[in-house]
């Protein structure tokens, strides 16, 4: 399992803190079970951080706690100077957009209607439709604006959700397994696109190689806690992978980009 491409990041932007995400000591429990246990992490303004970890490590729960859908038991979530947990839901939705796993509907909404949902937290305006069409353009779906949601493939739906999130004009983008069920072309396209967007992004990802190829930093979760965090090169090393996922792995530099490429094998004794 390898990923063959990686975008070249443009030279580091000036140290702009206005949209830096800082999560401090956030916990969340469901029915008395602690799912997210005192997580702290930071995502620099305009960069993409991958949230990795085995099934049940608490990736989705942490994303929902950061996005305010799960009310955290404790901790602080700040975006720049804004306290995301203290603000009203609607104010938060003007700053934070969420792309969920396989969110779908039974009703025959048009693609453009779905993208326009991104304007929900904002004051309705004449430019809403133009904005929505621009977002569709950005994800290469403008010609499908009038199509019925049900006629779209999984990859197209995910791109429409991304266009909806962009129409929300967020300063923070939260993505939960955005590449699930996408073919390899759109897996690369979607993450490359989010990376180049320049919007502070936190994405829960399953595929460690995708994360290594596109994320500026990665955070490894285990049992609701941060097991390791840092650049993919520093975090995705055999000892850590063995420790967290229980598999052996070899790490090679990517022949074109030099980023880490992981190949896995079962634990040998």
């Amino acid at each position: 399992m390898t990923v063959t491409e990686s975008p070249v990041r443009s030279p580091a932007a000036p140290a702009d803190e206005s949209s830096t995400l800082r999560v401090a000591d956030v916990s969340w429990s469901a029915d008395g079970t602690l799912i997210v246990d005192g997580v702290s992490l930071a995502v620099r303004s305009g960069t993409l951080t991958g949230l990795l970890g085995p099934n049940g490590a608490g990736k989705s729960s942490l994303l929902r706690a950061v996005g305010g859908t799960n009310r955290p038991d404790g901790g602080v979530v700040r975006l720049g100077d804004d306290d995301l947990l203290a603000m009203r839901r609607r104010d938060r939705a003007r700053r934070v957009a969420v792309v969920e796993q396989e969110s779908t509907t039974d009703v025959p909404l048009r693609v453009l209607d779905v993208v326009l949902l991104g304007r929900t937290p904002h004051r309705a305006g004449d430019s809403d439709e133009a904005l929505a069409l621009d977002s569709l353009d950005t994800v290469g779906m403008r010609e499908l604006a009038d199509r019925d949601w049900h006629t779209l493939s999984g990859g197209e739906r995910q791109r429409v959700h991304l266009a909806r999130a962009l129409t929300q004009q967020p300063r923070l983008l939260l993505l939960d397994e955005p590449t699930n069920h996408l073919d390899i072309h759109y897996q690369l396209a979607l993450l490359g696109f989010v990376h180049d967007l320049g919007v502070t992004s936190l994405a829960a990802l399953h595929d460690l190689n995708l994360a290594a190829a596109y994320c500026d930093e990665v955070v490894l979760l285990r049992d609701g806690r941060v097991a390791a965090a840092g650049s993919p090169r520093d975090v995705l090393v055999p000892e850590v992978i063995r420790d967290v996922f229980g598999v052996d792995c070899d790490v090679h530099p990517h022949p074109r980009t030099g980023r880490p490429v992981l190949t896995f094998s079962p634990l040998s004794g």
């Binding site: 969420v98 009703v107 909404l109 949902l117 929900t120 937290p121 403008r142």
Partner: protein, 361 residues
Amino acid sequence: MTMTAAPATTSPPAPAPAPGAGRRSSGARTAAWVTAMTAVLVASITLAVVIGSADIAPLDVWRSIGDHLELTSSSLSQLRDGIVWELRLPRVLTAAAVGAALALCGAVMQTLTRNPLADPYLLGLSSGASVGAVAVLVLGVGWLGLPVAAFAGALLALVVTFALANRRGELAPTRTVLAGLAVSYLCSAATSFVIFWSATGDSYREILSWLLGSLGGASWTDTAIVTVALVVVGTALVSRSRTLDAFAFGDSTASTLGIDVNVTRWTLLTLVALLTGAAVAVSGAIGFVGLMLPHAVRFVVGAGHRRVLPLSALAGASFMIWADTLARTLFDPRELPVGVVTAFLGAPAFAVLLRRRKVGR
């Protein structure tokens, strides 16, 4: 910036066509539909007033309206004017307002519960409203007490239905309809019981008109009650179109879009109960209008609420006018309860919806 894969990947998706190519503004299309449906409604009102045993010409309808609004002064005979203005027009306009109200309620309920089978009748609201209305009629309060009691009955029935259907915060469509059925039977029994216990004369007719609906004897007061509720509640619901759209993808997505899901759901459902109460207070429990028409409208124009809500109301108004016209002319001079007509058309539609994928959970 278009979303294509990293450089070495072969063919990226086809580029988008020039901006605006091949798109008509959705606003213009909606306006065209609203205009067309309004024309149908005006024609329906005119024709429905004309149809009947007395010999009335279509123009007489507008002469009478013009005279009473003191816009014209025609020489319409007092008899004809009386038939148009005192008998038929309030009935036809009440039918239109009731149809619009029920269709609007159905559309909003289907969205808020994510249940294609939701409708004020099937979920027990209409029967609950009937009990409230009948109870205050027995107690003998003024005309304002009637819609208020019907509203209280509808709201109570809604709460009980949801409490019965709720399992771990989920309202499965089929279970919700079964719960609605249970509530509906109980309320219908209570309605029949109260009428039978209190009435001296023709209680069966009265029971029928509450359980199956009737617009016979509708007065201008009835027209006013439903129309005021329709305008006030309808405006509030239409202004929340975008919020309603956001419910399509479920509570969690709606929440990330900044909506307080529970507060919004109960606020809007309370408004629905209010509107249902007003409709039932003047016409009894008429079924299937709220179920069918929103689906028909969505089938034609898609599910966006800025289109669905106004068009459902307009379609519901015309539909109810014709259902009531059939009800009063089919066995003239005897009247069929209008709910019998709507059920003949609506029950098959319900069966079709039930057969559709994703409902039978």
